[in-house]
Symmetry: C2
Subunit: 257 residues, 2 copies
């Protein structure tokens, strides 16, 4: 399984991905699911991927092929993040056209999705979610974050604290809490976490961190968040409802049908 998050703020973008890949529980390995394309002063692009690794790796490799030479207009000449998302979707379609039928023959899951975001030149920062069909949507102030992979366990905390005006530091903390919740409930999402933040208009990588099991900050977040939650929970008052209402079977039948 995979868990990736991208959060688009007024101040910048935070990207994070786990590194666990598994084909059955007896075949677990580590792959980074984050790719960064940077030409300082010109553009900063990050892609997070989820789904069938052969599909996502191939689609990104095709981008890399196109971007191998910095003068190559096919990739480095793209003038908008919209074009980048479009190209990534096209690549995914190409890979699926080639490999999809064979995966299907072997009953292998052919899902794939990407979060791609960044900034090119004078254009605003943008972030897109590319689906398996190659179509894509863009993050907006109403929905300033995307998740792919095992998204649900870690969603409530992002729903609660992230707004476009949040700081990059807040988004980093929220992302780590979100990963902590996810890893607690699904062992197939695992450390290390690749974390990158981008500051608006800098056109280069900001902070970057690979968070391993020995990272003291992440351990502290894990401890303090767990303790804090239990404390808030213990402070919730008991129900003030009236004494137990014991109903006859007949009354139940009326109420519960």
């Amino acid at each position: 399984m995979t868990y990736c998050v991208g959060i688009l703020l007024d101040a910048g973008i935070v990207f994070a991905s786990d590194s666990r890949t598994n084909a059955g529980v007896d075949q677990v390995s580590n792959y980074s699911k984050m790719r960064i394309f940077e030409r300082p002063g010109d553009r900063f692009i990050t892609i997070l991927s989820s789904g069938n690794l052969s599909l996502t790796q191939n689609a990104i490799n095709m981008l890399e092929q196109k971007g191998r030479h910095h003068e190559d207009a096919k990739f480095w000449g793209l003038q908008s993040m919209f074009e980048v998302a479009n190209l990534l979707g096209e690549n995914l379609r190409e890979v699926l056209k080639r490999d999809g039928p064979y995966l299907q023959q072997n009953n292998i899951d052919a899902s794939a999705s990407f979060i791609v975001g960044g900034q090119i030149g004078d254009e605003a920062m943008r972030m897109f979610l590319v689906y398996a069909a190659g179509n894509f949507i863009e993050a907006t102030p109403e929905t300033p974050f995307f998740q792919i992979g095992e998204t649900k366990y870690g969603k409530p905390i992002i729903d609660r604290v992230i707004k476009p005006e949040s700081t990059l530091m807040e988004a980093v903390k929220c992302t780590l809490v979100s990963f902590d919740s996810t890893m607690r409930s699904n062992v197939s999402v695992g450390l290390p976490i690749d974390l990158v933040w981008y500051e608006r208009a800098t056109l280069r990588v900001g902070l970057r961190r690979r968070i391993t099991e020995s990272d003291p900050y992440f351990s502290m977040i894990h401890m303090q968040w767990g303790e804090g939650l239990r404390k808030v929970f213990s402070l919730l008052p008991d129900p003030t409802w009236d004494s137990p209402e014991v109903l006859s079977l007949q009354q139940q039948a009326q109420i519960f049908k």
Copy 2:
């Protein structure tokens, strides 16, 4: 969608279910997903259901048919919760055998699952999760709770606070927080919540409550939990990592591949 939880404690059992049923977002209605069978002093049984409503209603109706007359040994004579779970699984298989092929012809989802728990006579309290195939598993001290339906958003808080030694009051609070998180992230899970608690060895309904939008206790839990979470979050210290590490593309390629 549906969300149901059953928590088996040393002190008793807490059951809760939402009431929203939908067949597409334009056809939403309320059905209780909780059925209680009680013969005070003899037995207390609660069933929570998730999945295709026609399947779960029919399987439970077959139980009710069998249990219509209190002297009927088919249902009220069962001597163990294990037999109840078994009978419910059998009923589900019977309904699926009758309706399954027709649902399939119409591409209608034929999923169904139940949480069934309670106590009969001198037997210990027991709780089971019955799957669509009619097979079932039992809750144990290591995994003292079951969820069915939209389970993920509300799982982290239960994972964090529930132990077999938790009090019924703690389990009720935890259940409401879990529902709050779920409803915040998935609008297809909705109020009212049917909530029942059973105290060990009482062989009758304990507290029972239908929690609607106007329930002041639930509103308070909703507010206080949200504020508490944001407070704990705001107290998390900022990362202590070194200054931004900006790596060259080549270095990136080594690290992130």
